[in-house]
Symmetry: C2
Subunit: 412 residues, 2 copies
């Protein structure tokens, strides 16, 4: 498939390679927020933003922004962006593709001599990934005015989060919710296998799934593994195995109904974890993603009755699931979704609507702007790993969709 694009696939590839080179050489690809490498990556981006004719600044929340002034100053801002930080041993595309593509849209507009009504801003959000401070989406939360003040005192690697925001050029004491942004668009790799499986170019995101974390603790009884007859044990691991399978089964049932749903037992720890002792305790942490709030409710109530049954059958104690954190789903804007669908049609990109199972800066931007996201496919759905891969042609097509959508949103 070769298309005539207004954007340059070569410039996109060069930017992605340049950022990939700014990595901890022993752990490719690692460029964590607040590190010196992160500032090096941003210095590269700032040079390129400027070369594209953008006026650059760091906002109070620590985001790097490049601006192109529009014809009509009262029209407000259209913003494009994502994040340049990575997880440890991460990939070259998660977040990065979205920043590079936003930059390329600005270049293509300049090259074509197109003046927009709106200001256009290209943003590299600060610390989208879970950072050294244990929290994520620090920059987009800050821009939306909802970054909790108590986070500023968190300490890691000898600095507070406030000092970290200062290190990148932000002003942590000032938190101002932007109210001038009319539309926000973010391109991101899907981080899942759906588009690849369906041989589609673009996913128009309908909602960013809610993320709920729930802790389950099973308490059995430690007994001598050699001497305690099989029938007289209260084995916490045996009971926990049933919990793991119940989570899988219930999540599978809800995943088969409309709307994204997934549940994962991501953390699992056992005590005393000694070869010759019957396990006395297991702690599990579930990660539950739900597009529809009803699904979450149904899952948790079905799980609770399963837990009661398992506890009874196995002579162990299981407390009701404890809610550790709960962020409901954030729907994307209907108008923006329609615009993105139309942009896909114009550019000839094969597309579908789909929910995002992963969290993104767009979920926070949606609180202050009409927000939308486009997903591009990535190899085997791999992400947060060095194997993460997206085809350059797919990224460029995504940029083209974004460019088309910006032109359409500018006229609305």
């Amino acid at each position: 498939m070769s298309r005539n694009l207004a954007v340059s696939a070569e410039r996109i590839a060069a930017d992605i390679d340049a950022l990939a080179a700014i990595t901890d050489p022993d752990r490719p690809w690692t460029r964590r927020a607040f590190s010196d490498l992160f500032l090096e990556g941003r210095a590269y981006l700032e040079r390129e933003f400027r070369a594209a004719g953008l006026e650059t600044r760091i906002d109070t929340a620590g985001n790097l922004i490049g601006r192109r002034i529009g014809k009509n100053r009262s029209a407000g801002t259209i913003m494009l962006g994502s994040h340049s930080d990575t997880v440890p041993d991460g990939g070259r595309f998660d977040g990065i593709a979205g920043v590079v593509v936003a930059l390329e849209v600005a270049r293509a507009l300049a090259e074509a001599g197109i003046e927009l009504e709106h200001d256009l801003e290209v943003t590299d959000f600060l610390a989208e990934e879970v950072s050294i401070f244990g929290v994520s989406c620090i920059g987009s939360r800050g821009m939306a005015g909802i970054r909790p003040d108590e986070w500023l005192g968190r300490t890691a690697e000898g600095m507070t989060l406030a000092e970290g925001i200062e290190k990148v050029g932000g002003t942590p004491a000032l938190q101002i919710a932007r109210d001038d942004i009319r539309a926000f668009l973010e391109l991101h790799i899907e981080q899942g296998p759906v588009l690849e499986g369906e041989k589609l170019d673009i996913g128009v995101v309908t909602a960013i799934a809610g993320i709920t974390r729930v802790e389950i603790i099973v308490e059995g009884r430690a007994d001598h593994a050699g001497t305690t007859p099989m029938g007289r044990r209260a084995d916490a691991l045996g009971a926990a195995a049933h919990v793991v399978l119940a989570v899988e089964t219930l999540a599978g049932e809800l995943a088969a109904t409309p709307g994204h749903f997934a549940a994962t037992t991501g953390e699992f720890e056992m005590w005393p974890n000694a070869a010759n002792v019957v396990p006395s305790k297991v702690r599990m942490l579930l990660d539950i993603r739900s597009e529809h709030r009803d699904d979450l409710g149904e899952f948790l109530s079905a799980l609770s009755s399963c837990l009661e049954g398992i506890a009874l059958d196995h002579g162990v104690a299981i407390a009701p699931p404890r809610l550790v954190s709960d962020n409901p789903a954030m729907p994307m804007d209907t108008l923006v979704m329609a615009t993105l669908d139309a942009a896909c049609e114009t550019t000839g990109a094969g597309h579908r609507r789909m929910a995002s199972g992963a969290g993104h800066d767009a979920a926070f931007m949606a609180r202050i702007a009409k927000a939308g996201m486009v997903f591009i496919s990535c190899r085997e759905g791999r992400s947060h790993a060095p194997e993460e891969f997206a085809e350059n042609a797919d990224i460029a097509l995504g940029a083209e969709v974004l460019l088309e959508a910006v032109k359409r949103l500018d006229m609305e």
Copy 2:
């Protein structure tokens, strides 16, 4: 139940209390082999051995031995004993009851003016429990001449095992298998719930179950927990849960056939163990106790076919179980068992034959002597925990059975 005993329940209680007082005060009851506390406990025992008229020594293997000379020097030795070391946060009876009771038998013989044909030795074996050096039954293996030489170089807490054996007064360079011991008897708490459940006083041990350790590794694929559809995962934890349940089911079936059998998934570790990542790998360590070698074979081959099925169903890789260690069951001597049965009849102790699911020094002594064990009941089968408890009357009755058995063995 009150009986007229030749042994003194009071002296037994006093010895148990005295040893219990020699503990790490912050972690009752902890008196680990090779520690200064261990030497303090031994100093107490040595004083009591001497007060009972026993001639004391530390053998080359580091065991504390008290000897009473018999009438007929060519008759050889009858040995009684167990161990005074504990696990961390252990109990007051595991091992200790066996040493104290052996001492009490010597006292009762002296008090009654009974001279035996055989020499009588009372032994406190060195380091029966898994010690700081990661190995167990160091003293009884040494006495049987089968302590691996390469163990001597193991290092822990700034000393080698060789230095540890020297610290307690042994001579690690010399390992001599004893060939003069005609019979060995060990009393121990059952560490299981069978005698208590059946309201019996004494278990005459038929065999010490084999201990086999097997490692199972499940390899799945790490994927994003938010974005990877439920049906497209290779979740190592889901597959491992089926393994845990298969172990439970197969072990339950074999436990219902004649002969002791138990299998426990005692260690369980998962990677990457991060809330939002589908588990990629699980490592399990199984502890398998078998009285009959056939049961072990049946278990392992049934488990292997289960693993193949689970791997296929879940799209994960599971290598065949890897044998980490394998010590076959050690039968107790038929003549000694019959003598112990008879001693129970004479003393009026309610008794049954039973296998030991736990490992004991007697398993190594059985290589160089006709060996036997008597179990006494303990509360709720609890052991290796501060709650471990045995009634003083039960311990005293066990001492009486041992005394009667010694008299009978002396005449054989």
